[in-house]
């Protein structure tokens, strides 16, 4: 009887691992791939629990071993991840997982398990291994000591060395179906409306939905960002340049912040395009913004909307290529269509509703 190991979605992956354990076919090295925040790390920990669980029906999640793994305290379960950068005062993380970390790992793997049945190594963000660290992992990955299990986790398998990929059994995790996310959120105490909205916004990334559930600020931040886009569409050049300047300043502090903003804006414009193309309501990524999206769809031509999405996409590409952030953001903002003041819009193109 297949259980779910407490994992939402990913039924195929869980079933495969479960069967492998039952039939004694578990391999020494796995590569878990899939989009960010779909449960790769959670599944890796569940597998670590499953091979170390003290109960008959692993992973029970209740026994001492399972609980300690869940809390990251088990001596036989090691996680390699980005360490904090001592040189940075703001507590930033280092850029990669260095060879020293892998060498420490070798030393540790040479020892017998302290208490568990297996030593489990989880590499969280395998694509962050430096080139030296990746190479240093090759021999261990191919022929680790007995009782060792390596789980490599990555959302970007294409960035790994082919020699790394070739040594692991690969397991592709998928986006979690919307309905399952909503059900999980309800199980965690959210009301149905909130669950439905978060599940839609999560776009398959259950981790995001659960975080957003525990942190109402996330939704507020999203609202602010969408409001900003809506405001920008009404603005003239000078105001937009000013806005771009502020975004550029934010970019210096947190790249991810600005990337998330651009993605959100693209999603909103995409909704406008969907509505303009005659798409139904349930196709929207931002169902809570329906009225505003519908009015924008009447005011902006599909071609202009499409061009604006393209401008934002290009902007992201330029930012990733380290083009001057302010220039790139200014260009993108100036490429957004202008809705104009409501009065003018009414005069020039009478929309059906107003």
């Amino acid at each position: 009887m297949p259980t779910s190991w407490g994992i939402v979605g990913q039924r195929a992956a869980v079933a495969l691992l479960e069967r492998s354990i039952r039939e004694g076919r578990l391999r020494h090295a796995y590569l878990f791939t899939g989009p960010p925040q779909v449960g790769k790390g959670t599944l890796a920990r569940a597998l670590a629990q499953a091979v170390n669980c003290e109960q008959a029906d692993p992973p029970c999640g209740e026994c001492r071993s399972c609980r300690r793994i869940a809390r990251g305290l088990h001596p036989d379960v090691v996680t390699l991840r980005l360490l904090a950068d001592e040189k940075s005062e703001s507590g930033r993380l280092r850029k990669n997982i260095g060879i020293a970390q892998v060498q420490d790992l070798h030393a540790e793997l040479a020892l017998q398990p302290y208490e568990g049945r297996s030593r489990v190594v989880i590499v969280d963000g395998t694509e962050r291994l430096s080139s030296e660290a990746s190479n240093a992992l090759l021999k261990t990955l191919e022929e680790p000591p007995e009782k060792a299990l390596l789980i490599l986790v990555t959302s970007e398998p294409d960035r790994l060395l082919p020699t790394i990929r070739s040594r692991c059994q690969r397991l592709d995790l998928r986006l979690v179906p919307e309905a399952e996310i909503a059900a999980e959120l309800e199980r965690r105490g959210a009301d149905p409306a909130q669950s439905a909205l978060l599940a839609r916004l999560a776009a398959g990334q259950i981790g995001w939905a659960i975080e957003a559930l525990g942190d109402p600020d996330r939704l507020a931040v999203r609202s602010d960002r969408l409001d900003a886009l809506r405001a920008a569409l009404d603005e003239r050049t000078i105001a937009r340049l000013d806005r771009a300047g502020k975004l550029a300043a934010r970019f210096a502090a947190s790249r991810e912040d600005v990337y998330a903003t651009l993605a959100l804006w693209q999603g909103w414009l995409r909704d406008v395009l969907v509505v303009a193309s005659g798409g139904q309501f349930d196709l929207l990524l931002n169902p809570d913004r329906q009225a505003e999206i519908e009015s924008a769809a009447r005011a902006i031509s599909p071609a202009a909307t499409r061009a604006a999405i393209e401008a934002l996409r290009r902007c992201r590409e330029q930012l990733e290529a380290n083009v001057n952030a302010r220039l790139a953001l200014e260009a993108a903002l100036l490429d957004l269509p202008r809705l104009g003041s409501p009065a003018r819009r009414d005069a020039s193109s009478p929309s059906p509703r107003s």
Binding site: P35, Q169, G245, L283, N324, A328
Partner: protein, 533 residues
């Protein structure tokens, strides 16, 4: 942990080693004739048998009862190696021990005689990861090691080794495993492991493995994990994402029918169900490819069932070949790595394909180098001083390098496509003059003649010379440029702009010092004109 197939079935003798006959024959003869050398270099792609051969060679050299160059795998030396406990076989992971200290240490230990075997064998794996000093420290030892030592260096990246190292070793290049050898090996494994699988299914694995036996064995292993001991072609194509399912067919049909809403629905449902969109896109491209093949009359090249063929034939009747080729190109170039926007990327491609929009990752973008054009408006911005110049300059330089290259232009596709492509090449070639044609409407684009309609003639005429030169360079021969006036001007790239750009305004823009400066210094191009104030 049970052993992975690729470890369990590691070759134990030269005879078992798949697909490397030239290497194994040479080594066997050398051993039989007792003419082994002191340093070997094994290079080749992953999973072709380098480490395995190293271990077999170590056995063969030390075997107490060698049989025509093969290790006997029965004597105590061979068994010790097979069980990984021969003290005189030292396997070094150069990627983890890459410094000069480790090599110095090695140099010290090399001097001691072997404890039980005839010769000490050092296998230095991933040798390309040694540091420069470590390589240098190794040189002398590698050239003249003590009598009792054999070095075997193995790497996937021989080009990273200093020439001085390579020249001191006898080099063996391992080739990718030929398909029939890999297939035979997989067949042996499958029979011994009780896996039911036919040759066609094994063939699918071998083709996906890229000549790496480890990859092939791993895929077989993985397939058994997924589907159990009885495997069919369908299982494997599903696992590898090669099959084409109903969703992909529905989407391709929506694209070809220009039914945007239906297409959006398919993508939405696929994403909501957690379908891997990258794999989904691979299926779409594969299906489009089949449509292209069918339209070209090469439908018999497709590996598919009759029902699938019929479905493809149906799709093939829904759009004209040129459009399908364009769409195929568009979808095959999609980069769906940014997962959070993967659905969006796919949807946009869908939108473009249904509306024949020009936002494709067109050859035009390629020709301009990897730096996307910076809008002119942004160059005036106050922030140019804080670093903009240094970053933007490579764009201009790169453009000069890449622009004139490329094969002679051959008009293909419908008129709009031909002109779009030609305009892109013109712009890459002659960034200063080409924008006057930004709003031109093509009448004819052929090998002999390019006929365009513009609103105002003068600006174009003034640039006739550079434009004609550029055309000659692009086509590879002189081409007649005919420009006439007319209205109903549509623009190839500015078609989405709210206001059409008349040439006289372009003229004014192009000759303005600011814009000139922006184009020259930053490689900017005029994407369109918008009235901002």
């Amino acid at each position: 942990m049970a052993q992975a197939l690729y470890r369990k079935w590691r070759a134990q003798s030269f005879a078992e080693l798949a697909g490397q006959e030239p290497v194994t024959r040479t080594l066997r003869n050398a051993i039989a004739a007792n003419r082994t050398t002191h340093a070997y270099l094994f290079c080749g792609p992953r999973g072709t048998g380098k480490t395995s051969t190293g271990r077999i060679l170590a056995k063969a050299i030390n075997c107490l009862d060698p049989q025509g160059g093969e290790p006997c795998n029965a004597c105590r030396m061979c068994q010790a190696v097979n069980e990984g406990r021969l003290i005189d076989l030292i396997e070094i992971d150069a990627a983890s021990n890459r410094g000069i200290d480790e090599i110095r240490d090695l140099r010290e230990k090399v001097r001691f005689a072997p404890t039980e075997a005839r010769r000490k064998v050092y296998i230095i794996d991933e040798v390309h990861m040694l540091t420069e000093q470590a390589f240098n420290a190794l040189l002398k030892t590698l050239e003249e090691p003590p009598e009792h030592v054999v070095f075997i260096l193995a790497t996937t990246e021989a080009h990273k080794l200093p020439a001085t190292i390579v020249s001191r070793c006898q080099r063996f290049d391992f080739r990718r495993i030929p398909a029939d050898a890999a297939l035979a090996k997989l067949r042996t494994i499958a029979e011994a492991e009780g896996i039911e699988i036919d040759d066609a299914a094994l063939g699918v694995i071998v083709r996906a493995s890229g000549g790496s036996l480890r990859d092939a064995e791993n895929l077989l292993d993985q397939a058994v994990s997924y589907y159990g001991n009885c495997l069919s072609v369908a299982d494997l194509t599903e696992m590898l994402g090669l099959g084409s399912d109903e969703r992909a067919r529905a989407l391709v049909q929506a694209i070809l029918d220009r039914d945007l809403v239906a297409g959006l629905r398919v993508v939405h449902d696929a994403a909501a169900d957690g379908v891997d969109l990258r794999q989904f896109n691979r299926q779409i491209v594969e299906l489009l490819r089949r449509v292209v093949l069918t339209q070209a009359g090469a439908g018999d090249l497709i590996d598919a069932s009759d029902a699938e063929r019929e479905a493809v034939r149906d799709l093939a009747g829904r759009a004209e070949p040129n459009r399908v080729v364009q769409i195929t190109r568009r979808f095959s170039e999609l980069d769906l790595r940014g997962e959070s926007v993967a659905a969006l990327t796919l949807e946009l491609a869908l939108y473009d394909a249904c509306t024949d929009s020009a936002h494709s990752v067109a050859p035009s973008d390629r020709l301009q180098g990897e730096w996307p054009p910076v809008a002119v408006a942004a160059v005036d911005a106050p922030s140019v001083a804080n670093g903009g110049t240094g970053l933007a300059r490579p764009a201009a330089r790169r453009r000069r390098e890449t622009a004139p290259s490329g094969a002679p232009f051959q008009p293909s596709g419908d008129l709009a496509d031909r002109w779009r492509e030609l305009y892109a090449r013109l712009k890459a070639h002659e960034p200063a003059a080409a924008p006057v044609l930004l709003a031109a409407r093509p009448i004819e684009v052929s090998e002999e003649r390019v006929v365009l309609t513009v609103r105002v003639l003068a600006p174009v005429e003034r640039r006739r010379k550079p434009l004609e030169d550029a055309l000659a360079a692009i086509f590879g021969h002189p081409v007649e440029l005919v420009v006439q006036t007319g209205d109903a001007v549509s623009a190839p790239t500015a078609e989405e702009r709210s206001e059409p750009a008349p040439e006289d305004e372009l003229e004014r823009l192009v000759s303005s010092p600011t814009v000139q400066h922006a184009m020259k210094t930053y490689g900017a191009t005029i994407a369109g004109i918008e009235h901002t104030a």
